[in-house]
Symmetry: C2
Subunit: 146 residues, 2 copies
Amino acid sequence: MRDISQIITKFREAGLKVTPQRMSICHLLEDDHSHPSAEEIYRKALTIHPSISFTTVYKTLQTLRDLGEIQELNIDPERAHYDPDIRDHAHFFCKTCRSIIDLETDGFRRDSLARSFHDAEDLEIHHVQIHMVGLCEKCRDGDTAS
Amino acid sequence: MRDISQIITKFREAGLKVTPQRMSICHLLEDDHSHPSAEEIYRKALTIHPSISFTTVYKTLQTLRDLGEIQELNIDPERAHYDPDIRDHAHFFCKTCRSIIDLETDGFRRDSLARSFHDAEDLEIHHVQIHMVGLCEKCRDGDTAS
DNA sequence: GTTGGTGCAAATAGTTTGCACAGTT
DNA sequence: AACTGTGCAAACTATTTGCACCAAC
């Protein structure tokens, strides 16, 4: 996700209005590397903008996703999570506490991975998600659920 | 997914009963490389076993997943898909027609990928999913939806 | 003033569960 | 006979939509 000022420009160029609700959500996401769900973003937004609705949060997240400013993660089968970091990186999902941890993908280039498959299969690949699923350090010790 | 005979043994060893419904679902999955959803498996099962319920299909899929005989794919945000092929391979998901295509991961070893992250982060990784999302050949030509 | 956004409430859809009866062992 | 599985119906949860009013442009 880029600077708020750049996002404002992009909104205006796309004929979208710059509203206080949208700006609040952008500010929240800018500082949040916890991969929150829509519900979590909504709860945080309420503290800034007490009358904001879940619908507005939901639609704003869709808008930001469609503009390519955030990525929607489908790593948790129960709900979508959102990541303002659109750079190449993999994610780890803990089955127990449902937390998501960033993993740097130094070892290989995700783009070239996508390109090689693209060449072979004649597919138009828009994005790649690499997901590791298991137990985080805390949950591994305290919980044996698989 | 292994031979039905091996799965029967595994069921009995786990104290699970071998029922006609479960066997029908195993036979359906054995030959199905289309990555069906629970609903699709249910509809196919109905043609073999007209009184089977969605609940039974759903619970059997969970059982097979928990036994490690199939993998549950969370590549489609709208529903889970199931894959009887538990070998290392990536998947492509078409946003338009919702089809899933297998991609062989010759270029790198998924296990070593997981292991390198594991060593670095102290996580217990149970499985890895590599997802490419975009448009398949057919939908790319006929549809410009992103 | 025009156009798109917000917020409410309701609808949708996939998933999951409680329970009584049936089938496997 | 004991115990798990099946099937029905209902509950649950995340997501999505219709619409009237409001705000940005």
